[in-house]
């Protein structure tokens, strides 16, 4: 069992937890993730390591409530325990040798991008961050990004805060104005990453994407997390949990990834409603 040391709501659907897991805290690097189960009948879900405190033995995770499991997790309070917590999994992001980087995060993807931005800042790189949200109410981690970015642009789809538009718009403007980067790193909804990659391609800037397919074991055993890369005209199967989650955005077959990510949407809607009803009953 793993203890929740602290809990903080970042907005009404995004929560940050600090979990006591000393072995993971000692090892985790930016870009890696953990897999957890809330209780004994729970599903295994992957969440990115959003920060660690090796001395305290704690690991920070930030999650958005999207379905049954994240809803359950959101009901675990400070001082309570979750059943399983395993990691760090995946390959750490490659950050060496980068001097000027643009981080493009979307929604809860910003939580996944934050440790990468912080690590690059620590390494002395010049960091531009573009973080995008649907509207003002769900903007998260703005202060944290400000602290580690040389330049920060916050966008909202509806213009209720910051730049009006999606994340690719200010990116395009910057690149058109002659700005250049060693690399663009993008994390968010698949469709957003696809368009960021297309923009990067136009200007010949390398682009890393962080893929978040459905996972079970996270160790390369089930193959459920597989995706297809186009490498030199050949289609190559990779497992995101061990070969990734970071991949060269130029190579990823986004359309396939998008289709696979909604494989269980009907079931999930049902599971979510079931969990919500359970909690409602408890409250009554």
């Amino acid at each position: 069992m793993y203890k929740i040391v602290s809990r903080r709501e970042l907005n009404n659907s995004v929560t940050q937890l600090e979990v006591l897991a000393p072995l993971v805290a000692k090892k985790a690097k930016p870009g890696q993730f953990i897999i957890l189960r809330v209780d004994e009948v729970g599903e295994r879900i992957p969440l990115t390591v959003a920060g660690t405190n090796p001395d305290k033995g704690t690991v920070k995770i930030i999650f958005q409530v999207v379905g049954g499991t994240t809803e359950k997790l959101n009901h675990v309070m400070e001082g309570e325990y979750i059943q399983d917590f395993v990691g760090p999994l995946g390959t750490p992001s490659e950050l060496d040798g980068l001097n000027k980087v643009c981080i493009v995060g979307g929604g809860v993807g910003c939580a996944i991008a934050l440790p990468t931005a912080e690590a690059l800042h620590e390494l002395g790189a010049n960091v531009t961050s573009i973080i995008g949200f649907r509207n003002k109410d769900i903007v998260i981690l703005e202060d944290e990004f400000k602290a580690c970015s040389d330049k920060l642009i916050v966008t909202t789809d509806d213009g209720s805060y910051g730049y009006h538009g999606n994340v690719t718009a200010p990116l395009k403007e910057m690149l058109a104005a002659g700005e250049t980067f060693d690399k663009i790193i993008t994390i968010g909804p698949i469709i957003m990453m696809k368009f960021v990659v297309e923009t990067a391609k136009e200007y010949n800037i390398p682009c890393t994407v962080s893929m978040n397919p459905i996972m079970i074991d996270g160790t390369g055993m089930c193959g459920g997390c597989r995706l297809t890369l186009n490498q030199n005209g050949k289609r190559v199967t990779k497992f995101a949990c061990v070969d990734g989650p970071d991949f060269d955005g130029y190579e990823v077959d986004f359309d396939e990834a998008m289709a696979r990510s909604v494989m269980y949407s009907d079931f999930e809607k049902h599971a979510y409603e079931k969990t919500c009803n359970l909690f409602k009953k408890e409250v009554q």
Binding site: L23, V24, K27, R37, V41, G42, E43, R44, G68, T69, Q83, D84, F85, V86, G87, P88, L89, I216, D217, T219, G220, M221, C222, G223, G224, R226, L227, T228, T237, V242, D253, E256, A259, R260, V262, M263, Y264, S265, F267, E268, A271
Partner: protein, 470 residues
């Protein structure tokens, strides 16, 4: 005394009934049937059955005890050689091992050794009152990586010798393939958990949620954590795909994913949070135990029709005979001498957002014929040109084999592996690294429970010799 030509039949659940639930299919012998079966054994002097058992269980000796109704005595004899008889009695491919060499089998049916072994083990699990006593510690620490049959056996043997053993398991539950792969209708999870409980009583510590190579490395275990030896029993869990077009479609699973969702994550139960495709038509590609398990699981999840697509013929099916029999009884449709060439998906060019886009609608196969025998004497299947046809299916499960996971190899310097990633060991199961032993599927590639167990035993002996002389 006249020889009774046939085995006492195993009582089983009705095929119609069982194909809708996950209850164990084979119900086990009663005491009287077990004694009657034991009486068939002619107690051969040269005991060919013993030599054909990978761990050399003293078969006639234990069978004689069954005949005398000393079931606990029979258990003691088996447990001298095997630590998982309740498992092996159920899942060993007896027809190619012990029973395959039984003298009776030359003219009649062999003695049902596996069924007797299962009976004895179940009797013990049900009736044994005494807890195993924790042996006196010798103060030496050994780490075991992986809690499949290889790891559990090695841990048990070492604990009995007084070692302080810790098993590290990547998943949230101990048991390896026995809990995530082999379905409950063949091997109830209960039986495995009970075996793990016995180990715990012997003092073995089981740490789940630890991935060696990620959470901790082999070198950390040896250098920083005080372990004097390590056994690697991490199995062969990396699923192979065929690399044909369409394997990325929605509804294509590796058997590992399909079975893990169904078994470990209990997707068949209404209470589970883990989803799986249920119903419809399912094609399982492959012909081994894994394929049979996936096909019969699909049926139990509510499929209307389940095919086994295998490129050779019935004779070459590598699965246990009993499982093939049960699968046929349950109505699995065997499409033999067929090989998939492409998986076909739904595509609605009018509406890119149609949720059916990218879902499996069929599998294109080519018919095969058996050609000349290859170097192993197996007749090689060759495609018949122009014979392609399409099977309409909604789900495809790939059960075409697995290989060792590279995680440990990649994070352990100096650990030598062969061309396909199997760890190289000597006759004591020692690897190229001092104090590091390995065995089971991670060395041999996907094999059997009993051979993994045997490898765990050999390594335990090797580790004991090494640490006693150190």
């Amino acid at each position: 005394m006249a020889i009774i030509p046939n085995k006492n039949p195993m009582p089983v659940l009705d095929a119609k009934l069982r194909s809708t639930n996950f209850e164990e299919v084979a119900l086990g012998y009663s005491e009287s049937t077990a004694v009657a079966e034991a009486e068939r054994c002619i107690n051969c002097r040269n005991k060919p059955c013993v030599a054909a058992c990978p761990v050399n269980i003293q078969i006639p000796e234990f069978i004689m005890k069954v005949k005398d109704r000393d079931f606990e005595g029979a258990y003691q004899i088996i447990s001298e050689s095997s630590s998982l008889p309740a498992v092996c009695g159920r899942v060993c491919p007896q027809e190619t091992q012990c029973e395959g060499k039984c003298t009776l089998g030359i003219r009649f049916e062999p003695v049902a050794i596996g069924r007797l072994e299962r009976f004895v083990a179940d009797y013990h699990l049900k009736n044994a009152k005494e807890d195993p006593v924790k042996p006196e510690s010798n103060g030496k620490k050994v780490a075991v990586v992986g809690s499949g049959p290889a790891g559990l056996t090695c841990a048990g043997d070492l604990a009995k010798k007084g070692y302080d053993v810790t098993v590290y398991e990547a998943l949230h539950m101990a048991g390896g393939v026995l809990v995530y792969g082999i379905p409950e209708f063949r091997l109830p999870i209960d039986i495995v958990t009970k075996e793990v409980e016995v180990l715990k009583k012997l003092g073995v510590k089981v740490e789940t949620n630890v991935v060696i190579g990620k959470t901790l490395t082999i070198d950390e275990l040896l250098d920083d954590m005080g372990f004097e030896a390590v056994f690697i029993g991490s199995g062969a869990g990396l699923p192979n795909f065929m690399n044909i077009p369409g394997e990325g479609l929605k509804g294509v699973y590796s058997a590992n994913e399909y079975l893990t969702r169904a078994n470990l994550m209990k997707a068949y139960s209404e209470d589970a949070d883990t989803p799986i495709s249920k119903g419809g038509k399912v094609a399982v590609v492959g012909g081994g135990n894994v394929a049979m398990d996936a096909a019969r699981t699909a049926l139990r999840l509510g499929a209307d029709k389940v095919y086994i697509v295998y490129r050779r013929s019935m004779e070459e099916l590598p699965a246990r005979a009993e499982e093939v029999e049960h699968a046929i009884e349950e109505g699995i449709d065997f499409r033999l001498l067929n090989n998939p060439v492409e998986i076909l998906g739904y595509n609605n060019p009018e509406d890119r957002r149609d949720p059916k886009n990218g879902c499996v609608v069929g599998i294109k196969c080519i018919k095969m014929q058996l050609g000349e025998p290859d170097e192993n004497g197996r007749r090689r299947p060759v495609p018949i040109e122009g014979s392609e046809f399409i099977l309409d299916v909604d789900t495809v499960v790939m059960a075409i084999g697995t290989s060792p996971n590279p995680l440990i190899k990649d994070t352990t310097e100096g650990l030598e592996v062969n061309r396909w990633g199997g760890i190289i060991v000597n006759e004591e199961n020692l690897t190229s690294r001092e104090g590091v032993y390995a065995g089971g599927d991670v060395v041999t590639g996907a094999a059997t429970v009993i051979s993994a167990m045997g490898a765990g035993k050999v390594a335990a002996q090797g580790i004991d010799d090494y640490l006693s002389n150190k």
